[in-house]
Amino acid sequence: MRLAAIGSGGAAPGQRSPRVAARFAAFLPDHKARIGLVFIAPALAFLIVFVAYPVIDVVRLSFHLVDFATDQEKFVGLANFAHVLRDAKLGTVAWNTLVWTVFSLAGQFALGLTAALCINQRLPGMTLIRTVLLLPYVVPVIALALFWRWMLDGSFGIVSAALQAAGTIAPDQSPLAIPEGAMASVILANIWRGFPFVMISYWAALQAIPHEFYEAASVDGAGAWQEFRYVTLPHLVAITKVMLVLRLIWTVTFFDIIWLITRGGPGGATEHWPIWIYQETMGFFRFGSGAALAVLLAGTLMLLSAVYLLATRRSAAR
């Protein structure tokens, strides 16, 4: 029965009440389109309630003062933004965020591209090496934070011991106790965790370059550098563009590594924007200020991404 009905192309999907089905059918005459909508309906509802609504709500919250104890909200206009922008640590946090992002990205892209070029060589053992180099991608950040702290422990850490022996830091001192050392440590941890993603993305792009291109280049007498410059590099432009945007967003907003290694310390030396958001919200229960910081962060990132994508599109068109 049902099969015949579906075959005829006019009946409602499933066995729902005829009136609802009839209305749905009138709204969307194409039977297959209705079936498609039924398939995505649960996912759509989930995205609207738990992603779209929170995004809108965080903007709304940024204009409100939230008293969490009494569950009261009061519209305060731009007061939350004024509060955070007048905060004495604004400059330091912004600078830390910039340093964290720029050095993390530079390290991840440099190591990622280098590794991709190596594992792309058709040499024995490269598949195994690729697998090993991918491991940091799945290692829990908490484990990373633990062994990083252990290696940098002032008294018994192996990296600290090496630095102490070299005279870079004082005996019994940990790099995490020095502002610059702490920042360098968390950035290095982030490079460790993030470069495999860049590597595997570049590797996939390299695999997609037709072998004939290299043959043609070598027939034309191109050397290794010229091959890289005129064959390999142009094929990596598109993926670099996409990855820069993705990595920028995910690096600026990455909270776990710094929080779990230094908690923003020593003395705020590694406090970046996400940690500020977290502390305003979960530390001081100033949800409105936290939301204002989140809106500022998301807005800046959207603006940067849009400007970057537009600018590169224009230069590509030219």
Partner: protein, 277 residues
């Protein structure tokens, strides 16, 4: 000519050797440290290889109910998240790869934006939603949060797997008289099982490793997941490095094994641009 080919062979090995040490040494150091007795753990300068191996730290952990409960909670949250995400995700991914309907591109665009959207921006309002649902400090609340984080990613990855199953197979099933639901459940799902399995693994790993939402949503000790539990383990009192390295190893080993089983699909997923970093 011969010299050039030797450098082109040796250089990749030399460079990757450095990278393998950079990646592998910290992991190895964690495992080695978890097996060293106190006398060797707390020496300056540290020795690389242990003279004596001890399982004392592991025994301490397995003997404590706290550590067991961390693993149980992470397992429950991870499995539930994976189940919900995959159910929602397979239906939606099948819908968008097999049918055309108004708003399809808007839906895909929205899914892509939510896939990029960072947790640190979302967690404030999500906290308030979960709070108004009365689900703060419950497993269900955390499962919901983990679904928010992983669902867009799961959808995007499943979509790329369903695109790999030719539409002609669906059409053949329809011609043979199967309903849309039958085609989906009995024909396409079994064909995409390897893909589904690998997406399940990635969702599980993301949930297993997740810290931010867990730290915001969970306050009772007996509901804490591994990342949250360990994070407090190191700030609460004296730092017991032996046990900490042991629990770090125990938290890492399952996800590494799972990853090794599906890494083939991971590489395929990257090629289709569907991996979250």
């Amino acid at each position: 000519m011969k010299r050039a080919s030797r450098t082109t062979t040796l250089l990749p090995y030399a460079v990757t050797l450095v990278l393998v040490v950079f990646v592998g040494f910290p992991l190895l150091w964690m495992v080695l440290s978890s097996l060293k007795p106190s006398a060797e753990l707390f020496v300056n300068p540290p020795r690389i290889l242990p003279h004596a191996i001890t399982f004392e730290w592991y025994a301490n952990l397995i003997g404590s109910s706290d550590a067991i409960s961390l693993f149980k909670n992470s397992l429950v949250v991870g499995v539930a998240t994976t189940g919900i995400c995959l159910t929602l995700g397979t239906f939606a991914a099948y819908g968008v790869t097999r049918f055309d309907f108004p708003g399809k591109h808007a839906f895909l665009g929205a899914a892509l934006i939510s896939y990029v959207f960072p947790a640190i921006v979302l967690f404030i309002s999500v906290y308030m939603i979960v709070n108004s649902l009365g689900l703060i400090d419950t497993r269900l609340g955390l499962i919901l949060c983990h679904c928010i984080l992983t669902f867009p990613f799961a959808l995007w990855m499943l979509k790329s797997f369903f695109e790999g199953v030719p539409r002609e197979i669906d059409e053949a099933a329809w011609v043979d008289g199967a309903s849309f639901a039958q085609t989906f459940m009995l024909v396409i799902l079994p064909l995409s099982l390897p893909g589904l399995f690998s997406v399940a693994v990635f969702v599980f790993v993301l949930s297993w490793n997740e810290f931010l939402f867990a730290s915001v949503m969970i306050t009772s000790g007996d509901l804490k997941t591994i990342p949250l539990g360990i994070a407090e383990f190191i700030t609460s009192f004296d730092i017991r490095w032996g046990e900490i390295m042991a629990i770090g190893t125990l938290a890492t080993v399952p996800v590494v094994i799972m990853f090794l089983c599906v890494q083939r699909y991971f590489v395929a997923g990257v090629t289709s641009g569907a991996i979250k970093g």
